[in-house]
Amino acid sequence: MARITAGVASSHVPLLGVASDFGKDSDDYFAPIFAGYDWTRAWEKAERPDVVILVYNDHASAFDMKIIPTFAIGCGERYKPADEGWGPRQVPEVEGHPDLAWHIAQSLILDEFDMTIINEMDVDHGLTVPLSMMFGKPEAWPCKVVPLAVNVVTYPPPSGNRCWALGEAIRRAVESFDEDLNVQIWGTGGMSHQLQGPRAGLINPEWDNRFLDGLIGESDHLRRIPHIEYLRETGSEGIEMVMWLIMRGALGKRTRALHRHYHVPCSNTAIGHIVLRPDNGEGLDMTGDYDAALAAE
């Protein structure tokens, strides 16, 4: 069966894509940001996931105001990097996993999550920046991707509780897929940032770090944070962190943290990144001893 072996969360600031694409990732401004992902890039090489379920939000690229799906799952064969107004990023096309994606879509709908199904779309920085941060600059992305787009732009976005429950349902869906697949789930966006109005530039490291703490271990209190708290404490765009809860919900009852990174600023935003392993005694670690695997790299 397919299994979710890890969860990864990361900010997806577009400027990180620019830095990566134009070789600025080791300058004074960006080096401390990218250095926090060195561990993860080595770890991903050892983990070799077959598929990543990548939870992100579209930023007026594939979706405009005509259609606003709350939860949309990409079931297509492949996705091109979107032209966001300055030409598409020169990164590989993203290969989908239609069999798994359709299986998840069907399972979720039967599990009472009424998903929107997307067969064709371009994917913007929300999806391609995390791929660059975790995999660097390969000729082709080393795994297939199931995009899961969440509306966090037009209010109301889904509640944190609903996001967490969707994650739980995704886990059930993955575990009922027959093929042996090493599946990771990534939650992206955040952490604190506000891109609009006189209050722009708001950053709340204390709150962000409490949120990171809350992803680790057994507590599920994060699912009950109301929207207004994200807005007041972490800025209007901090609401993107509800997408991290889909990732966390998919990891089961307990998690342990393998790696963690926090840095301010990147453009207008606080960068947060965490790598989690499900820790529920069910032997979900398909790759064996990851420390040994890393050492062998």
Binding site: Y155, Q194, R232
Partner: protein, 148 residues
């Protein structure tokens, strides 16, 4: 929907009203999304290079092709982004106009604050804007009254 106590189903009117209590922030509610629909779709049209060219040649004429209010057109022409937000603009859509103008996101965002870009950049490098005194208009007023 999860209420402020984290458990009960919240009241939609209270849910929406709370957004107006955040200082210096325009939450992109359904009301704003309706009001700004054509403004945001106009901005979206700038994703295409030929539209960007036409817009740059004659901004007013290009805006006149869209069912926008005079206020909306005026705010767009003046690049008064706070006003655009008031009139239903959303920052991810307005960002198409930022890039048409050759502005970085942070540069354009800084124009909505009371700082110039240089000072805004310094603030971000120094750790960003503190949430202290930025959480609630009502709480700020109460603090003021309490200290009198």
């Amino acid at each position: 929907m999860t209420g402020p106590d984290g458990q009960s189903v919240g009241d939609i009117h209270e849910y929406l009203a709370a957004f107006d209590d955040i200082p210096g922030t325009r939450v992109f509610t359904a009301k704003r999304a309706r009001q700004g629909y054509h403004m945001n779709q106009f901005a979206m049209s700038l994703m295409k290079a030929e539209n960007r060219e036409r817009f740059k040649q004659d901004e007013r004429a290009y805006l006149d092709e869209w069912p926008l209010s005079d206020e909306q057109k005026d705010a767009l022409l003046r690049r008064d982004y706070n006003r655009c937000l008031d009139l239903g603009g959303n920052v991810y859509f307005l960002a198409k106009l930022f890039s048409t103008d050759g502005f970085s996101f942070a540069q354009a965002v800084s124009t909505m604050t009371d700082m110039n870009f240089e000072d805004y950049t310094k603030m971000m490098i120094a750790g960003g804007r503190s949430p202290e005194g930025q959480r609630s208009i009502k709480a700020n007023q109460q603090d003021k009254e309490g200290s009198r």
